[in-house]
């Protein structure tokens, strides 16, 4: 299996740049395994990413066409490429800050237009690369380098937002749910139309260390405790769901 | 025609001032003349002051905006007041008598364009074409065939018939040159 996966990696790129405990490496592997599972030729794939840690998942690691763009605009670049050459299978991989803060407008419009893009948002709830500033996904009360007294704002519910904008397939999983996540990526690749997957991915040095989760196991435990599958959530009261993250699928499932 | 002829149309938005300029320019182009056309341009579409200009020449046109008009075609009193002071020596003013009572007597040609449009066609929107056709018939700045062809190519199919009828009315209304 490991050898079989090598063909998906660009030769000559030795290691990933991700910090110890980062979830992006898990996501990287799951995307490639999903592609492998569907037996997709990497030469048909175009990976588009923006700026930030998650944008480095495909570029330069994936052995396919990759377009590493400006901050927030990945979806707009992808829109141009996909519309001009519909044969390209276009996947956008970027972070929460890139796709939902600076690039939020492009995201909702691409969902509205139902462009056949597979958008994967690695959500680490913080600006990792720039030093741990608050994001539009940081939970309320959490400490970041720009909210020393705790984040006063509410975070976006990314899936609700994309679903409201017209996303065809919308899903949320944590890297702590690898099999379900891989199946979800396969589904997004298989379905036509605008697909969106939010992937919760731990960031130890920025998000964890500022919020009493200084090691990878701690933040992974936190995520595992926080995430609750949609089916399970349906029987729970509002109080029981408080602070939980509901994972699962919405839209065309 | 040895020198360039400069024509200015004036009225308010919605009267078809811009279309009149476009038709005249396109017609002159069909007559194989050099043409430059421009018009006032603003955010308001209806009811505001509106201007449109065309230069027709045998030679290439250096500066493409009207400097001193030879022919002024006006459809509002305001446009008349605004533009009539600036006219070439021997220039002509064609005016829609529905809207304008000119102060000057020399060089003015009255056309009851809106009146005819309402009376004979039942749609005041074609007053611009009646007025333009009258200008063409009176001055010969472009051929009547070219104007008809310009109408053909510029006007939506469903509006074609009554615009052509309007042109015929205007052609018949050859003004008496002062």
């Amino acid at each position: 299996m490991v050898r079989a996966m090598e063909q998906y990696l660009r030769p000559g790129i030795p290691t990933t740049p991700f910090c110890p405990g980062c979830g992006h490496g898990i996501l990287l592997g799951l995307i490639l395994r999903a592609i492998h599972g569907l037996d997709i030729d990497m030469r048909e794939m175009l990976f588009v990413s923006g700026i930030g840690c998650a944008a480095w998942i495909p570029s330069p690691h994936f052995n396919a066409d990759t377009l590493h763009t400006t901050h927030g605009r990945a979806i707009a670049f992808a829109t141009g490429a996909k519309l001009y050459n519909p044969k390209l299978r276009v996947m956008v991989i970027s972070g929460d800050g890139d796709l939902f803060s600076i690039g939020g407008n492009h995201l909702i419009h691409a969902a509205r237009r139902d462009i056949d893009l597979k958008v994967i948002c690695a959500n680490n709830m913080i600006y990792g690369m720039t030093g741990g500033q608050v994001a539009s996904t940081t939970p309320r009360g959490f400490t970041t380098s720009t909210t020393p007294l705790g984040n006063p704002d509410r975070p976006f519910d990314l899936c609700k937002l994309v679903e409201a904008a017209g996303g065809r397939y919308v899903a949320r999983y944590s890297v702590t749910q690898p099999l379900a996540l891989m199946e979800s990526i396969k589904k997004a690749l298989f379905l036509e139309g605008f697909s969106f997957i939010e992937v919760l991915s731990p960031c130890v040095p920025q998000f964890g260390s500022k919020n009493l989760m200084e090691s990878a196991p701690k933040i992974i435990e936190w995520l595992m405790e926080k995430c609750i599958p949609r089916e399970k959530a349906e029987g729970l009261s509002r109080e029981e769901l408080n602070g939980k993250i509901i994972t699962g699928e919405w839209g065309d499932v | 025609m040895s020198k360039a002829v400069q024509v200015r149309f004036g009225g308010f938005g919605g009267q078809g001032i811009v279309l009149a300029g476009l038709l005249l320019g396109r017609a002159a182009s069909f007559d194989s003349k050099f043409v430059a056309g421009s018009n006032s341009y603003g955010a308001q579409a209806r009811g505001s002051a509106c201007r449109s200009e065309v230069i027709i020449s045998e030679d290439p046109i250096d500066f493409p905006h009207v400097t001193i008009p030879d022919i002024l075609v006006v459809m509002s009193q305001r446009a008349y007041e605004l533009f009539s002071r600036q006219l070439a020596r021997g220039g002509l003013i064609f005016y829609d008598s529905q809207f304008i009572s000119p102060r000057r007597r020399r060089g003015v040609v009255e056309v009851s364009a809106t009146g005819m449009a309402l009376q004979d066609i039942g749609d005041k929107r074609v007053a611009n074409v009646i007025l333009l056709a009258a200008v063409v018939a009176t001055t010969g700045i472009v051929s009547q065939e070219a104007l008809l062809r310009a109408i053909d190519e510029s006007v939506k199919d469903r509006h074609l018939e009554f615009n052509k009828k309007a042109a015929a009315l205007g052609f018949g209304y050859k003004g008496v040159l002062p």
Partner: protein
């Protein structure tokens, strides 16, 4: 060679078009099959006609959510193989600067049309200006080159749009057509030749797309989906596109190359036009719509026996310093009328051996011939 001859988009002969319409026709003639844009005065007629014409020619038109995404979609489409363009004005041009830097750094061929209006900010949205000349060159951060053309007629709006695509494809560089509101909305005769000469980007397999043997050469540009497994990034990259953000040598070499590939090819890029220069004492150095007023004024003065000449810059960037320098050795003074605060006049001072006299008009109106005449009379 990657030159070819294709049929013009319109039947040959004389047409009557606005400048903005002529831009769209030039684009279609040049083989443009992708347009992304956002409506803005006074350039919107370009996108309206492109929507209509791309529908007829099997191209792709998309109205984006803003200008940031428009230039981004254009770059994405260009890498997917399209001859791609966008058009904008004023504030929209400002928004595009981010994507223009990306296109320049990734050596993406694309055409950006800026129909200039009176700024800054919202300014006079429906009025004319030429205040974007410096922004076109320096608007995005960092050091890069672009090509800027300056049309003065409806005919040139058509021809220079074709030329802009040819230059963009040939040199792998964002190329700008900097019209002004007055020429965008001007209607004039447009003479259409039956055939158009167009240049298509060079492709090659297995060669680095960001590296050339000599600084004058342009690397080949394959498209997505051709099996080249391209790495395109706006970060500093080596010849293969691999990020090298810590290597001073790689950065220096890349910056030098993307500048040199334009500057060393200046003789084939730059185009100027001159009349009455042989015995001129004073020359008018002009561009865009103001060149129409200038020509009219100069012709009038010539008829009266004044020794005044006329030089028009059809290319504004890379700046024709060689031509200005040469001119400045032949005349006593150079008069530069502009609808801005002296953007080209200031640049001309870098290469001029004689006095440059800037005339600036920033009231949202064109500079009329009589104004230029009056100013010239003072100098003659």
């Amino acid at each position: 060679m990657a030159w070819k001859r294709i049929k013009a988009s319109l039947p040959p002969g004389r047409h009557y078009f606005s400048g903005n319409e002529a831009v769209a026709e030039g684009a279609i003639s040049a083989g443009c099959r992708f347009y992304a844009g956002y409506p803005i005065t006074p350039s919107s007629e370009i996108m309206e006609r492109m929507a209509h014409r791309l529908g007829q020619t099997g191209g792709v038109f998309v109205q984006m959510e803003d200008e940031l995404s428009s230039i981004s979609a254009v770059t994405g489409a260009s890498w997917a193989g399209a001859k791609a363009m966008t058009a904008t004005s004023g504030p929209g041009f400002s928004l595009m600067m981010e994507g223009i830097g990306y296109a320049a750094f990734t050596e993406t061929p694309c055409v950006i049309v800026d129909i200039q209006r009176a700024g800054p900010s919202t300014g006079q949205a429906t009025r004319v200006g030429s205040g974007d000349i410096m922004q076109a060159k320096w608007g995005s951060h960092g050091d890069y080159q672009i090509i800027v053309l300056s049309p003065w007629s409806v005919q040139e709006m058509y021809e220079q749009t074709i030329q802009a695509f040819n230059l963009a494809e040939r040199y792998r560089v964002p190329t700008f057509l900097m019209g002004e509101e007055a020429v965008g909305h001007l209607r004039e005769n447009l003479e259409i030749e039956p055939w158009v000469r167009v240049f298509d980007r060079k492709k090659a397999t297995g060669r680095p797309p960001f590296e050339a043997k000599s600084p004058r050469q342009i690397p080949p540009m394959p498209s997505f989906g051709e099996g080249e497994r391209l790495l395109v990034t706006g970060s500093t990259h080596d010849g293969l596109g691999i990020r090298r953000t810590d290597d001073p040598k790689v950065h220096a070499r890349l910056i030098e190359r993307i500048n040199d590939k334009i500057l060393l090819n200046k003789p084939t890029i730059v185009d100027v036009d001159g009349f009455f220069l042989d015995d001129a004492r004073v020359a008018v150095l002009c561009y865009g719509f103001t060149a129409r007023s200038s020509l009219s004024a100069v012709k009038g003065l010539r008829e009266e026996g004044y020794r005044v000449g006329f030089m028009r810059l059809k290319t504004l960037w890379p700046f024709p310093h060689e031509n200005v320098g040469e001119l400045s050795e032949r005349v006593e003074r150079i008069f530069v009328p502009e609808m801005n605060r002296g953007q080209v006049g200031g640049e001309a001072m870098k290469s001029s051996q004689c006095e440059i006299i800037s005339f600036c008009q920033t009231n949202g109106e064109v500079i009329r011939p009589e104004v230029i005449r009056k100013e010239l009379m003072r100098l003659l």
